[in-house]
């Protein structure tokens, strides 16, 4: 039963070039930039730190649980309950479907096929991420790391594009947050071992509020 842990598979899955649609999502950064809440690297760091401890932890928990093989229906329902914004639920399912496409090409696996068939409109992205990690031979903590990293990697890249922020400073923000990502991933993986009811549900009011505003903009660069 023990799956081989392959560190390089984790790099493939976590790579920003993995074609799963993430590049078009800012994780709320586009709205925060417009509202003046992100103006520089320090704001970006605070924004990313907040994301990590809220939606990042929640996503990491779901991903870890899916990687452990917990019931994906229950996990998807848990993800719905943790995502009050319909714009973010839609984005999560769309990204889930996009990730599923890439994951099935990368790591063909009957469990992924079954998950895709069960959720033709897409399961929540963290659930698919965990399943993809599982198909790649990775474990729950790997999946949680990947989710945590995505939580901040997306906004950092988006802010580089939106503000012309020095990419070295943006990368330094990510590097400074690395220990927090580790901590969040560890917490998420530990929680996942406790079952669906033990999963974190940390939320961020402003992300929910601005997601709906952003979705209604007539003109925007990022999908969310």
């Amino acid at each position: 039963m023990a799956r081989l842990t392959t560190r390089s598979a984790l790099l493939v899955l976590a790579d920003g070039r993995f074609p799963a649609g993430g590049h078009a999502h800012s994780g709320g950064a586009e709205a925060a930039v417009k509202a003046g809440r992100i103006r520089d690297a320090a704001d970006l760091e605070a924004f990313c730190l907040g994301r990590l401890h809220t939606v990042g932890l929640t996503a990491a928990g779901l991903a870890a649980a899916a990687a452990l093989g917990l019931d994906p229906y229950e996990l998807d329902a848990a993800a719905d309950a943790r995502t009050p914004s319909p714009a973010l639920r839609t984005a999560a399912r769309r990204l889930g479907r996009q990730l599923m496409r890439a994951a099935r090409a990368a790591w063909p696996d009957p469990e992924l096929d079954a998950l895709a068939a069960a959720f033709p409109g897409g399961a929540h992205q963290p659930v698919v991420l965990g399943a993809a990690a599982r198909a790649a031979g990775l474990g729950p903590e790997d999946a949680a790391h990947c989710a945590a990293y995505e939580t901040v990697g997306g906004p950092a890249t988006a802010v580089v594009r939106l503000l012309g922020l020095d990419p070295y400073r943006a990368t330094a923000v990510l590097a400074r947050l690395a220990p927090v990502m580790d901590e969040v991933a560890a917490r998420a993986a530990t929680a996942a071992h406790g079952g669906v009811d033990a999963l974190p549900a940390a939320s961020a009011p402003l992300l929910d509020i601005t997601a709906e505003q952003h979705a209604a903009w007539p003109v925007r660069l990022f999908a969310s």
């Binding site: 070039r17 074609p19 799963a20 649609g21 993430g22 590049h23 078009a24 999502h25 800012s26 093989g69 019931d71 994906p72 229906y73 769309r94 479907r97 996009q98 990730l99 599923m100 496409r101 890439a102 099935r104 090409a105 009957p110 469990e111 096929d113 079954a114 998950l115 895709a116 068939a117 069960a118 033709p120 988006a158 594009r161 939106l162 007539p218 003109v219 925007r220 660069l221 990022f222 999908a223």
Partner: protein, 231 residues
């Protein structure tokens, strides 16, 4: 896992020529090219030329979401449900080449929603000369440049000019005004492209897009004449 392990093709392979029900999917043609060369105008003109005889739909990839989609809607070239805009996160070339997943979602959703379709036009956001479509997304691609952008563009080459299945040199009516030499552009293009076709267009008249429309019909005929799909 309490999942049905039934096999599904849904969204599995991007270049698969079949829809999940085993029928042949629509032909997908990409239109790329630099900003302002007339991609959206070409798409609009193609829709007007082809919509009476073909079932077609359009996916746009704007730098700013919806701008091109809204132009097409305003011009009423197609019913709104046949036009989808894909957000590109400020990187339109990424969405058509490196990570095509959002565009694949869009074309498949269009086929599910309004299908069956004969043809889907995928318009790239205005980008640079290096932006080309992934073969995982489109079956053929058109690269649109214009005479006002300089008559040395064909000579400069680049992946779009050299490898596109059709090179369109647009706004030929402007050539005398901007001092572009159409003959030189044709010679340079032929040198860069070998046997690959080049079309010179002016969209000032409704028939101006004719050569492109003709090429599209040929591609479509070849697509449908290909061996019948086996599910």
């Amino acid at each position: 896992m309490h999942l049905d392990h039934g096999h599904s093709h849904h969204g599995a392979v991007s270049a698969d020529a079949h829809r999940p029900d085993g029928t042949r999917r629509a032909l997908r043609i990409g239109l790329g090219g630099p900003v302002g060369s007339g991609k959206t105008a070409t798409v609009a003109a193609l829709c007007r030329q082809l919509r009476d005889t073909l079932s077609l739909a359009v996916v746009t990839n704007d730098i700013y979401t919806r701008e091109d989609a809204e132009f097409l809607l305003r011009e009423a070239v197609l019913p709104p449900e046949r036009i989808r805009a894909v957000e590109t996160g400020a990187c339109p070339h990424t969405a058509i080449r490196d990570d095509i997943s959002a565009n694949l979602e869009a074309v498949e959703e269009l086929e599910d929603a309004v299908g069956p379709l004969d043809l889907i036009l995928v318009e790239s956001g205005g980008d640079n000369l290096t932006a080309t479509f992934s073969k995982g997304l489109v079956d053929a691609q058109v690269f649109v440049i214009d005479v006002a952008g300089g008559d040395d563009i064909p000579r400069k080459g680049g992946p779009g000019v050299t490898t596109a299945d059709l090179l369109v040199v647009n706004k030929t009516d402007l050539a005398p005004h901007v001092g572009s030499d159409l003959g030189r552009m044709a010679r340079d293009a032929a040198e860069q492209r070998g046997e690959l076709p080049v079309a010179f267009t002016s969209l000032r008249s409704a028939e101006g897009v004719g050569p492109v429309a003709e090429w599209v019909r040929e591609r479509l005929a070849a697509w449908t004449a290909a061996p019948a799909p086996t599910a």
